[in-house]
């Protein structure tokens, strides 16, 4: 019976001191009775391996001991739905606040290299921020669960008013044919306007053209590259709008729109990463004023890039929420 005593000793390791002796004494009697009954059936004493088989069937010592302990859960079924809801609603908010807080770093970083590094660092640092959020929410709900089990009060968790339910959501209406044609016409006009800009810079800068002339400054070569990429994006958008109009089907339009918005990051990035937008055209140029203009223009474009990226993230998330079943997006 050495094996039985070793088994009981192993179970006892996981039991609290105050109940250990009592539980083990009862377990010993029950297991001995089981072994005796088996020996009676076989009309001979049990071998070591037959006794081991009975103990094995009874269960692993740690698991057996755990069944004698009070059952606790970190977050029980009454509180769990609220815990999950807080995580699901809170996580996007935390991400938004985090990125807004990082905008200042993006905008005022000294160089394009540092700017890219700053974006990479921000994404890397988002992981511990989310882990911290998850940990804090889990701890809060574990405390609430503890209080809930101690007091046994759950009235406030279940208190709700049906009158406060949100109104019935109406499915988003598809754009009418007239509105899509109008959209297409406006887009064509916008392309014509952009095409006219190189010959008539005042269309973009307005009276700022006179100011540049006064400063003896002109456009830097980077604007040519920007202009070409911008026109490509506009033409891609025009193609999508024409395709959607021809098919009469709005469904495939959205992912393509998202794609062109992603393409739009290229010209936006070109503007944000360049630092020289205006160059002197004569010896009378006020270089200090020009440097200031270039600096603040760069800051403006960086803010613009952040807004474009955030907008793209929001649009992508909204598209995924509609296109992908909710349970696949749930965490």
């Amino acid at each position: 019976m050495d094996l039985l005593e070793r088994y009981l000793q192993a179970v006892g390791q996981y039991l609290p001191q105050e109940t250990r002796e009592d539980v083990l004494a009862e377990l010993r009697v029950n297991l001995l009775a089981e072994m005796d009954a088996r020996a009676d059936e076989m009309e001979r004493p049990l071998t070591e391996s037959e006794a081991a088989a009975i103990l094995k069937a009874h269960g692993r010592p740690m698991v057996v001991a755990a069944r004698y302990l009070p059952q606790h859960s970190l977050i029980g079924p009454a509180v769990f739905p609220f815990y999950l809801l807080t995580l699901r609603k809170g996580a996007p908010l935390v991400v938004l606040i985090y990125f807004v807080a990082r905008v200042a770093t993006f905008v005022f970083s000294p160089s394009a290299g540092a700017f890219v590094a700053s974006i990479a660092t921000s994404f890397a640092q988002l992981v511990p921020v989310l882990l911290l959020f998850w940990g804090a929410v889990t701890m809060t709900f574990a405390i609430l669960e503890f209080a809930h089990t101690q007091t046994g009060q759950c009235a406030s968790w279940n208190a709700w008013d049906p009158a406060k339910l949100p109104p019935l959501a109406h499915p988003k209406k598809e754009k009418s044919l007239a509105s899509r044609i109008a959209d297409l016409v406006l887009h064509c006009l916008w392309i014509l306007y952009v095409l006219a800009v190189p010959q008539h810079p005042y269309l973009i800068l307005g009276p700022g053209v006179l100011f540049l002339t006064k400063l003896s400054a002109g456009f830097a070569p980077m604007w040519r590259l920007f202009y070409v990429t911008f026109i490509i994006v506009l033409l891609a958008q025009l193609g999508i709008k024409l395709m959607a109009l021809a098919r009469g089907n709005h469904r495939s339009e959205q992912p393509l729109e998202l794609f062109t918005n992603l393409l739009g990051l290229v010209p936006a990035g070109l503007l944000a990463f360049n630092k020289v937008y205006f160059v002197p055209t004569g010896s009378a140029a006020n270089l200090h004023a020009l440097a200031q203009i270039n600096y603040w223009t760069n800051v403006g474009f960086r803010i613009g890039l952040v807004v474009v990226v955030l907008n793209l993230l929001v649009e992508s998330w909204q598209y995924l929420r509609r296109a992908v079943p909710a349970e696949r997006l749930a965490f």
Binding site: V23, A25, L27, V29, N30, A33, E34, H58, Y68
Partner: protein, 117 residues
């Protein structure tokens, strides 16, 4: 859905169905005094086999809840812990049996109605 997942689902539903019934069966069987092993054997003899590792902790839990009372006593030269239904346990068992019969009747009615259609 393959046979494995079917079996898994059946097993999980079967355990869920049995969980509540086991408590009623244990309380009912303990109208007569038993210690752990003989209780398990008595239940098994009547077609309700329960694993030792489930039954023995359950007895202690029911005792903590006041539904059972126990005493250590020597029998066949061994000290054994005998359990019996407490007065509170008897009252609860009566209520549980009434509930069980109600569920049983409803289920029979539902099944009968289903057959008629």
């Amino acid at each position: 859905m393959n046979a494995n997942s079917d079996n898994g689902m059946f097993e999980s539903l079967r355990l869920e169905l049995r969980r509540g019934c086991l408590i009623v069966a244990v309380l009912a069987q303990l109208r007569d005094e038993h210690y752990g092993y003989t209780l398990r054997k008595a239940l098994a003899d009547q077609g309700l086999a329960i694993e030792e590792s489930t039954l023995y902790p359950l007895l202690r839990r029911l005792e903590t809840q006041g539904l059972l009372k126990s005493e250590w006593r020597e029998e066949d030269k061994r000290n054994k812990r005998f359990y019996r239904l407490s007065p509170e346990g008897e009252a609860i068992l009566a209520q549980l049996l009434a509930e069980w019969n109600g569920i049983n009747e409803s289920l029979h009615k539902i099944l009968k109605d289903g057959k008629k259609r």
